[in-house]
Amino acid sequence: MARNRKGAIAASMAAVALLVAACSGSGGSTDDPTDPTAAPGDGTSETSDAPAEQTITWWHNATGEPLVSFWAQVGQEFAEANPGVTVDVQSFQNEELQRTLIPNALLSGDAPDLFQQWGAGELAAQVAAGHVKDITADVADEIAALGAVANPWQLDGKTYGLPYTFGISGFWYNTELFAQAGITSTPKTLDELYAAIDKLKTAGITPIAVGAGDGWPAAHYWYHFALKSCSPEVLQQAQAELVFDDPCFVKAGELLGEFIASEPFNEGYLATSAQQGAGSSAGLVATGKAAMELMGHWNPGVMGGILTEEAGEDVSPPEWLGWFNFPGIDGAAGDPNAVLGGGDGFSVHADAPPATVDLLKYILSDDVQARFAEAASSIPTAPGAADAVTDPNLQLVLEGLQNATYVQLWLDTAYGPTVGGAMNDAIVNFFGGSGTPQDIVDAIKASVETL
């Protein structure tokens, strides 16, 4: 009896000892006391004098080929050129990255060193919390070259990230389906767009695919109508001060209501995603099941990625893909040459190893940007790489950007996730048939109150 008892006690003490050892082993890879003035340090941080070994964790939002492999290659090239530096490149799905992964990582203190950054409102919140490194001094040359497109990644004159791609939103369409429906020229006005929608419906073709399931693709319609209805001053004030009293915002909703009433969308659009698989809005257009989609300049790359996934081999964006700018609205109060655009960039974490800034500069170098333009079928920001844009559609997009008198950043990025999320929600509800144009503005104002 006594022997069994002693054995039981010995066994349980061994179990407790193992448990304690396991817990302490995974508790943290560094015992450096966290700097109280900065954000909670992450596991990969090192002391400020350049150490021999640096590991850079890099998170980006590309999930389709060939862009995923391209970024991995860029990371590898940088690591090879810089002895002692390892680059851990990780790719994540866009919505998860933006809404869940990055906020969680920043909050938990175990953040990546170089991460996707969409700028403006989101950036402001991250900077206020001390998570982002001020790289103004390090990238002065790049900023001078990039010019105005870098503005969303800057706050109060300081630079907190660099964009590697920037473009404007417009309609990506299937030239063959348009021809089939008898549409001879791309719509230049809203009335011409309505006419085109009617012709497509008569020909039995789904006119427009929209990924309302993800919120923002549907919201972009409202953004465009707001852009056409509101003067640039009102829009700038809205972004800077979050005031939405101007009646032009209600007018935007009214224009949207008319558009939705013409029933141009794919069936079940409230649940369609934007970019995930062949059932997404990008997938529907890529596979010829819908005629057009209002989307940013990354769409050819995304479509190519979806088609590659479906075909199992490397497929470039479809030959029949065309682009036209959002049509003008006669009698609208806004600037007719204003455009809605945005881009992607990367930010450096406040605690990142020093080589991370060099990695960012390498990504923005002309050579890498030129290769990016080809790999992603997208538009680079570095002026030195502008010639690399050979796709005629992207050249149209670039032209639209260069001719614009006012560039408004996507409204949900501009206003930050709290207001942007509530705004997108209200707009999707409106799409679903509940709510009025005034309700959209009320929802935006209510969310500003909660900030």
Binding site: S12, N104, H131, T206, G213, L270, A271, T272, G288, N429
Partner: protein
């Protein structure tokens, strides 16, 4: 009771040695208790108690999750949650799943378990097949069903709709995941597919506790199969049913994975549950204080229901075993 203490030396001898034994043995007893339950208590406090307490603390602040915790706003978050129509939808959805699970999965599971509770060829295989959906990961099941139930596009229908049409049920084709009137039922159907196997296995296990002699006795008395089930088997299955119902209720209140994967709370916020609401409106919108308030409300609702259930529904089982039947 007093007559017992005076009954005889055997009883009165009892209390005398025990105080001394208790004093000497109690230290060791507590050491054993501490040693064996210590790690479990530590884990429970660390992973359950502490987060709930922290969430309750955060819920009184307006906090975006990125900066310092400094804007105290009292009960504002709770007011916002309780007056938000989307939260009301989430509450309704949760209780819909609770109710529907009890009313649909329960009888179905009992029925199937009764039918399977006999020696038959391939019984093991059938039980395996029934249990497989439960083993499958929720995320994989969600992704798969999302593909199967996808909306028609460009004239071609999704897999499920195509099959419906092929067997002649073409009029039943719907926007399973995109029509707000239908989507919650779709989600419930998939949840049933996933968890019915679990309920059936539990019921089958409970049925093993029903003595065969009772059914034989009933057969001798001339009872039919259904009468035997109704008056003997099912009442004896009572404790099992009540335990299963408890698990089902708690699981339904915490529903997250399936909804998040298949609809993300959509279309137009119609399929939110309290958990998806918490993640979307709290975490993803950088309103961690608000999300914490939702978490606390979910916790309170679950706790109250669990306590009420234990007090009223499960108490019957305990009473039954205490008073018992003779022989």
């Amino acid at each position: 009771m007093s007559s017992l203490t005076q009954a005889g030396p055997a009883v009165s001898a009892g209390p005398a040695p025990s105080p001394a034994r208790k004093r000497r043995g109690s230290g060791r007893k507590w050491a054993e208790i501490g040693l064996f339950s210590g790690p479990a208590i530590l884990v429970y406090v660390g992973f359950v108690f502490l987060p709930v307490a922290l969430a309750a603390y955060y819920s009184f602040f307006n906090w975006n999750g990125l900066g310092p915790l400094e804007r105290f706003i009292g009960f504002d978050n709770y007011t916002r949650v309780l007056t938000d129509p989307v939260f009301h939808t989430a509450l309704r959805n949760n209780f819909f799943v609770v109710g529907a699970s009890l009313l649909v999965q329960g009888p179905l599971a009992i029925g199937v378990a009764l039918l399977l509770n006999r020696k038959m060829k391939g019984r093991g295989l059938v039980r395996l097949l029934i249990f497989i959906p439960y083993i499958l990961s929720e995320v994989i099941a969600g992704v798969a069903f999302k593909l199967i139930l996808q909306a028609p596009a460009g004239g071609s229908y999704g897999p499920f709709d195509t099959v419906l049409n092929a067997v002649g049920l073409g009029e039943l084709r719907q926007l399973w995941l995109a029509d707000q009137k239908v989507v919650m039922w779709t989600i419930f159907a998939i949840l049933t597919w996933k968890y019915l196997g679990f309920a059936i296995i539990i019921m089958l296990a409970g049925l093993q506790g029903v003595p065969e002699e009772l059914s034989e006795a009933a057969a001798i008395d001339g009872a039919g199969w259904w009468q035997t089930q109704r008056y003997i088997t099912i009442p004896l299955l009572g404790p099992t049913i009540r335990v299963w119902a408890f698990l089902s209720i708690i699981g339904s209140l915490q529903l997250f994975d399936m909804v998040w994967i298949m609809t993300g709370g959509g279309p137009a916020n119609s399929t939110h549950t309290m958990a998806t609401y918490m993640v979307l409106f709290g975490l993803n919108r950088q309103q961690v204080g608000f999300g914490s308030a939702v978490a606390v409300i979910l916790f309170i609702i679950s706790l109250v229901i669990a306590l009420l259930y234990q007090r009223f529904a499960l108490r019957r089982d305990l009473e039954g075993s205490l008073t018992g039947r003779e022989g």
